[in-house]
């Protein structure tokens, strides 16, 4: 039962780190890492939920985690490929500002 206090706290901490890095870091690889941090923290929370029902473990969150891992792997692959393409063309790993965001003339 002690796990159910400790694991959710850790997972929320990791989730916060992920959000912080995703918003404030400019480097694309760090942003992609941050998304994976957020995903892993939610998986940790789901594991702690499933371990709560003793003695038998609740299997449904495990199914959720498996599906979400597959989705996260493919999304990460897509993001890495886009980042690589951006690096090939512009020579840097940052997002460009969209030029006309404020409606100002170019």
């Amino acid at each position: 039962m002690a796990d159910f206090v400790f694991l959710p706290l850790v997972s929320m901490g990791v989730f916060t780190i992920g959000v912080y890095a995703l918003i404030l870091d400019t480097d694309l690889l760090r942003k992609i890492m941050a998304l994976n941090f957020m995903a892993s923290s939610v998986f940790l929370l789901l594991i702690s939920i499933s371990s709560r029902s003793q003695p038998a473990v609740d299997a449904i969150p495990h199914g959720f985690i498996l599906v979400a891992i597959v989705i996260m792997v493919s999304l990460t692959a897509l993001a890495l490929m886009l980042a690589r393409r951006i690096y090939q063309i512009t020579g840097q790993l940052y997002l460009l500002e969209d030029e006309n965001e404020t409606g100002e003339p170019l």
Partner: protein, 540 residues
């Protein structure tokens, strides 16, 4: 139970199989396979509609696994309405995309801005055949980063797609998106919603890149970050809900959910995640749409953001305990009001047509949020009217915005520029374009008045002020474009080749269809009333 599970499963499987086959058989196979998929989809949609119409709500447990362990496909009036909307827009977008991409293949530089009339255009355009780098030498009145921006904007990566690949790659991705949308509208489980939302992200991000510019890559990357961020927030929220209730099925959640601190947190997180996904919060929509090819922009504004709104609608009215939502819904309405006015004002400021329409989309998406305060009090009769008005508004917006973007694509085709001031005299060259834009624009102005009836019934007169201001602003930016289109020009805009008549007949048909929706309002409300959350299955 379901009479025959064939039709409901084929709604998901047909586009998926089509996508795989097109990808296997390669170029030109889409000319046979996409019409085949559309014909097969029309048959199965009609059969499914008849099943729901005669026998009421249908549900099908996949592989006969029952609810706590398995996943159900579930069809009621709202799902079937969304499926029909998706089908109609799919047919129109497919027709349009065939025409658009055949033009798009040769086209390389329509996003090049034409300098203002009153700035002295000293520069000249050079077309480098290899990299398609377009250089406009800066005039004195332009900022110094002008040259650089233009160069980056239109620089195309020569290795990215061999000739004609963008044309072909659109189709498998689009059919995958269609399959994901249908799966989303047939889900009855919060986790299935998460999975299908991710399928939408996976399908729509590569489609944005088809534009093949650096800015499109940036927009796709930014969209991916925002979409996955929202998904993670949503996943966290459903982990909370699972921790409290022990099930994620909509019906069991509705029965067992009681208000509490964790539930409050989950509601807050789901609301944040889905408003981000539906394009209302932090305005990622504009830069994404401005850099995507027109058919992809249509799919994003007409289908993808509506899908997120559909989940919000389901969750809000069928899952959350209604006694606590009265407090929140006024706040939601306030957020919607601020966004409506802000985005409409931004739309008025834009100088590029696509960006103007993108801000208009944000404003129109926020209108639909107004039904949450209006429908507050789920047992009253007027709440059904508000709910129904919201769905009606959402569907007509999808049609109208699709039509407007199609017309915009045609105008870009004629004048070869995205800038509004360059569009003078288009009405002279192509009167049909002008007529279509006028019909669609007028529909856009008039549509929010659907909400007046629920406002009248609920007595919340303050939302009327928002609608009046929003409508005035909408009229301003629509007429701002119309005025330019109507203008007579001394030296007419040059255009080459034929004018692409089918490119303008498709949106014209779509806008007439939207006007025609008013005629069938009775039928639509009968469809929506089937097993609505306000029907007899309603939790007390």
């Amino acid at each position: 139970m379901m009479d025959s599970p064939l039709w409901v499963t084929s709604m998901i499987m047909l586009p998926l199989i089509g996508a795989i086959l097109i990808f296997i058989f390669g170029r030109y196979s889409e000319r046979v396979l996409v019409p085949l998929v559309i014909i097969a989809m029309s048959i199965s949609l009609w059969k499914l509609f008849l099943q729901v119409w005669t026998n009421g709500v249908q549900s099908y447990p996949i592989a006969n696994w029952s609810i706590p362990l398995g996943v159900e496909l579930y069809v009621d009036g709202l799902s079937i309405a969304m499926l029909i909307m998706t089908f109609i827009i799919s047919v129109f977008v497919s027709l349009y995309a065939f025409k658009y991409f055949s033009w798009f293949q040769e086209q390389t530089n329509w996003s090049v801005p034409i300098p203002d009339k009153n700035t002295k255009a000293l520069g000249q355009t050079k077309n480098n055949k290899e990299n398609q780098i377009v250089i406009i030498e800066a005039t004195e009145s332009l900022p110094s980063n002008y040259v650089e921006t233009v160069t980056v904007t239109t620089k195309r990566d020569p290795q990215a797609f061999p000739k004609g690949q963008a044309n072909f790659l659109f189709w498998p991705l689009w059919l995958l998106l269609w399959s994901g949308l249908n799966a989303l509208f047939l889900s009855s489980n919060l986790f299935s919603f998460y999975v299908t939302l991710e399928i939408l992200t996976l399908a729509s991000v590569p489609m944005i890149v088809l534009n093949n510019t650096v800015l499109a890559l940036n927009a796709a990357m930014r969209y991916l970050f925002i979409a996955v961020f929202a998904s993670m927030v949503y996943l966290l929220a459903i982990a909370f809900l699972y921790g409290v209730v022990g099930s994620l099925d909509i019906q069991s959640l509705a029965l067992e959910l009681r208000s509490g601190a964790t539930i409050w947190m989950a509601i807050f997180l789901i609301f944040i995640a889905l408003t981000i996904k539906s394009g209302i919060l932090p305005f990622w929509l504009t830069s994404t749409i401005a850099n995507a090819p027109i058919p992809v922009a249509i799919l994003l504004v007409a289908l993808v953001i509506k899908a997120a709104f559909y989940i919000l609608l389901r969750v809000w009215f069928e899952v959350f305990p209604n006694e606590i939502l009265g407090l929140v819904s006024q706040l939601v309405g306030l957020i919607a009001a601020v966004i409506i006015i802000w985005a409409s004002w931004q739309a008025l400021q834009q100088r590029q047509l696509i960006r103007l329409l993108a801000y208009a989309t944000v404003a129109q998406a926020a209108y639909v949020l107004l039904i949450f305060p209006l429908a507050n009090g789920i047992t009253d009769s007027w709440s059904f009217d508000a709910w129904q008005a919201g769905i009606y508004l959402s569907i007509s917006h999808a049609f109208i915005l699709a039509a407007l973007f199609m017309v915009a694509g045609h105008i870009l085709y004629i004048v070869n520029s995205d800038f509004i001031h360059a569009m003078q005299g288009v009405g002279r060259i192509s009167p049909l374009t002008l007529i279509t834009f006028s019909i669609a624009g007028l529909c856009l102005i008039v549509l929010p008045s659907i909400l007046v009836n629920p406002i009248w019934q609920s007595g919340q007169w303050w939302w009327l002020i928002v609608i009046i201001i929003g409508t005035l602003l909408t009229a301003s930016y629509i007429f701002k474009v119309l005025m330019i289109l109507f203008t007579k020009l001394d030296d007419p805009v040059k255009h080459e080749g034929n004018l692409g008549l089918s490119m303008i007949l498709i949106p014209l048909l779509l806008s007439i269809l939207t006007v025609g929706m008013g005629v069938f309002e009775g039928e639509i409300s009968r469809v929506l009333a089937m097993e609505s959350p306000f029907g007899e299955i309603n939790r007390n």
